[in-house]
Amino acid sequence: MSVRTQTIPDVGAKTPVPALEPLLFELARPGRSGRHVVSHDAADIPAAFQRKAPLRLPELTEPQVVRHYTHLAQLNYSVDTGMYPLGSCTMKYNPKVNDRVASLFADLHPRQSYRTTQGVLALAYEIEQMLAKITGMDFVSLQPQAGAQSEFTALLVFKAYHAKRGEAATRRRIIVPDSAHGTNPASAAMCGYQVTTVKSDARGNVDLDALRSALGPDVAGFMLTNPNTLGLFEERVRDVCDAVHAAGALVYGDGANMNALLGVARPGDLGFDCVHINVHKTFSTPHGAGGPGAGPLCVKAHLRPFLPKPWIVREADGSYHYDTAREDREPAGLGDSIGTIKQRLGNFGVLVRAYTYMKTLGEEGMVETGRDAILAANYLLALLRPAYDLAYDRPPMHEFVISAAKQKKQGASALDVSKALLDEGFHSPTVYFPLIVPEAMMIEPTETEPRETLDAFAAAMLRIAERVKTDPAAVRDAPRFTPLRRLDEVTAARKPVLRYAVPGVAGAE
């Protein structure tokens, strides 16, 4: 790693801190180049569309560019460099074989005919079958590209389902628990639904009485994450689903926390009408910073007619095709389908990685995955309990939520503790979520961390808790050993700078 020394005023010692990497624009000098660019004759382009001023692109040599991106990669903290306990995100290790298999499909074109992609369609069809089996559902759409898009897709499906029954105009509300991911109410609002929130009870479950009184003939559906965002299994999930169904509404399963259920329980058996899977979490494909992901939607048979089209269909002779894009016979129409969400196969590269992971594990390995994730979370929680408060005193599933309320009273908040963790060499957990826990720290170790790493993380958390008692100012001052220290999140949100400004050029592009 490229290292420079920096004097840290309040430590007063020379401490190696990774150097920040300048922008390409700052490294550039006029006349440098890495490639010989062939100049084209611009005569064919009408004068009106020809550029008047030169493009202000940075000019660099090839090794400069390679080093720039390598330095950036060295500054990165990833699951390949250390434990990444970011609760709700399932930052498990991504086996490299996944990428190797996915690269076989790099040349696939999304609009390629079924005639030249029979193997690809067979693979997609098999992925659908596997996901249906894992979730206990009947049919799967591979199209949604992420969890939130799958929520949106599912709610469009709910809307189409109610419309088919002549109830679209009356069923205008979606209910979500107060522990829900923020994307749940956002997806509902994007579909034009009104959102009602129901409280959690003292054990961290959906308050069944509150749910029953919120239900009515105007409710289209209920969105539930199980295990919920507190990392707790909904103890009365069957009663919850029965109550929603009794009101004529549908139950959506947010599969964000599916990792805990792998091989242990199936949403389809618990009463859900549909569930999405964040395959990038549960089935180990690299994610973070916005993608790429995939969020296949798995549904019971009564919702199938409304799934996005085209569907991948398997013929009796073992051949495959898209039902709406046949070249040799009359294609199927859209029927009751909500239409297309994403072209044909969704984010296929991500799905192939998930397929590889599932095949590598097999059914036995899948069961171990869920159980080991739960074991790791319970082990880690046991180590942290002496120092941190537990929001709900129940054994967690694959993740748990502690509260730094005690530390806050002693002078350092959950944010301060999370920043101090960076100096200890760990990525921070998710903080201030779920919203119903004050000073929340949501920790998800995943099944891929060995016991020694869990011990080291717990030791770091306990050291920080001790430091909060004796010297909270030092914890508020963290991090000290990162290239940048406390970032000014408030100014970044209030006055964001979203592009590089060329010095001396006002309003430069």
Binding site: D178, G182, K199, S200, A202, D389, A391, Y392, S403, A405, Y432, F433, L435, I436, V437, P438, E489, V490, A493, R494
Partner: protein, 134 residues
Amino acid sequence: MSRVPDDLRYSKEHEWVRLNGDTATIGITHFASEQLGDVVFVELPEKSASVRQFASLGVVESVKAASDIYSPISGEVVERNVKVIEKPELVNTSPYEQGWMVKVKLADKGELSKLMSAQDYRAHIGETAGAGGD
């Protein structure tokens, strides 16, 4: 301790109301602004929009979370605080004065009885401030 002025009425969802004739000024409480942390964005209804008691009035976003503001009373918006949209930090620095959100012409004074006194609100946040959610 959070400041809870005696002359205001309060909602469970941490909004306050100041009555002046048949016009009510609405904002969020000091407790709410402390829970949110630094506020970075405020979204408010346009003038002459109608709002319903306990229905969403707007959105306040902090570095931690985005939250709905619920209208503590029903009525028509007669003025909105443009300054708080331009300078959301007023919600933190002056929640009961410069950080007000909207002024509403009351539709039904009877609704005020569904709100809490300062004393009751203090008890309310005493409960919700503890660990374990509410």
